[in-house]
């Protein structure tokens, strides 16, 4: 279980979070939607231990937590395979075993042997994102934190990677806290949808949903979500920027 108990975070000119409460259960895929700058990334940084709260407490009871950042954050001097192996080396796995497992994982993500040997600067943006996701999953976490990892990719590629992540999460039963400001991405991935207000962030909508894959169903679910007054106010109100990658 990941719990935020009355968490306050002050940063710069005002509070990012004020007495914020949230719990993510094992196996749950919680997607956080919110306007830019509302504190979504701060929540993930608190959950991963990169930032300490100014008040309250964050309790992460998961055995192992992995993070997929907004940028792939790959080691430019290592191959794709070695970048994935890094997460395993960090867990004390031997070099040979780490590389073998990393190669297998990348193979499942559509990488050829030649692709595995390429350094990040020789990979496309989509492939770099796959490597970052593979690195996060390599160390078999039971919680993965994802901070808009596909925001910079085009719509088609983003959908492929969303399916990849959804498949990996379903296969392994791990919990995920996924941050996005793309409503359709949220609807595609979530089995729990949380909408945050502008700063200081508070949850204005919390709904358990069944992930949808059909484009028309995604569109309907996204439209239904945006029809809710509290969600509309949070995402479309002053300062709220909503993004949808859905195309008819």
């Amino acid at each position: 279980m990941l719990r935020f108990d009355e968490v306050t975070l002050r940063w710069g000119d005002g509070p990012v979070l004020e007495r914020f409460d949230l719990a993510v259960a094992p196996g749950e895929v919680a997607v956080l939607l919110g306007p830019s700058g509302c504190g979504k990334t701060s929540l993930l940084r608190l959950a991963s231990g990169l930032v300490r709260p100014s008040g309250g407490r964050v309790v992460n009871g998961f055995r192992r937590t992995a993070v997929v950042f907004q940028e792939p954050r790959l080691l430019p001097w290592w191959s794709a395979r070695d970048n994935v192996a890094f997460a395993l080396l960090a867990q004390g796995v031997s070099r040979d075993a780490a590389r073998e497992k990393a190669g297998g994982l990348l193979g499942r993500f559509g990488f050829s042997a030649a692709d595995c040997a390429k350094r990040p600067d020789a990979l496309s943006g989509g492939m770099q994102s796959r490597v970052a996701v593979a690195r996060a999953l390599a160390a078999t976490p039971d919680l993965v934190l994802m901070d808009e990892p596909f925001a910079a990719l085009d719509v088609g590629l983003r959908r492929d990677l969303q399916d990849l992540v959804r498949g990996a999460v379903s296969d392994t039963g791990l919990a995920a806290l996924f941050v996005t400001h793309d409503v359709t991405e949220a609807v595609r991935l979530a089995d729990r949808l949380l909408v945050l207000s502008a700063r200081p962030a508070r949850i204005v909508h919390d709904e358990r949903v069944a992930p949808v894959a059909e484009p028309s169903a995604i569109h309907r679910a996204a439209a239904a979500l945006l029809d809710r007054p509290a969600v509309r106010a949070a995402l479309l109100g002053p300062g709220g920027v909503v993004q949808s990658s859905f195309r008819r």
Binding site: L50, W78, A87, A139
Partner: protein, 255 residues
Amino acid sequence: MPHRLARAALGLAGLAVVAAGWQAGWRMLGPFVLPQPAETVETLARLVVDGEAGPALRVTIVNALGGWAAGAALGTGLGIAAGLAWPLGAALRPVMTVTLGTPPIAFVVLALLWFGPQGGAPAFTVLVTTAPIVFAGAAQGVAARDPQLSEMARVCGAPPLLRLRALLLPQLLDHLLPALATALAFAWKVAVMAEVLAGGSGIGGRIAEARAHLDLAETMAWILLIVGLLLVCDGLLLAPMRRVLRGRRPHVAAG
């Protein structure tokens, strides 16, 4: 490969132009200003055959490489420490700037006074002139670390040794290797200059001796020897460093 051959051929052509200029200078100015190239080469051959060149080379190599290695170790250690701990960096930077700005000849004179003519003045001078160069590179390399990669390593739970090997050293090398190469090129010049002033049995000392005897051919022969040493050093040490750096530059991204 053809590109490499062309580069080598052009390099040789450049050296041939210098040799031709030297020959022309000898004809115009006379042997009291510039010795004949052939005579210089003969003198150099004699120095090698008579066994005078070997010991002089050894002494200069020990002075230059020994001083460089000590300066590199000191500069790297202090530079990494300064990059990791800002108070140390703030305290050391002005010291290194002052050291770097002090003419090497001042250190030679001081070292001669402190250690005497046979007391390692050239190696000491090389050490104090190369250490600040390497320090600057190492400190910059540590300071220029990508904080995003450090965060990634932290959330992966990477232990310190893995962070050192996978993150710190590769980022450090980008700045440290050019600094080491610059310091090494500098080390030869400083070593010979210090030997000229300190005397002794190194190449610089032999140049000073030949100058005292007004033996222009021998002076030029020793200079040729040190230039040859520089070229060998470039091929054996600096060229591999340049290759490492080139190999680390980003490729063109695939679509």
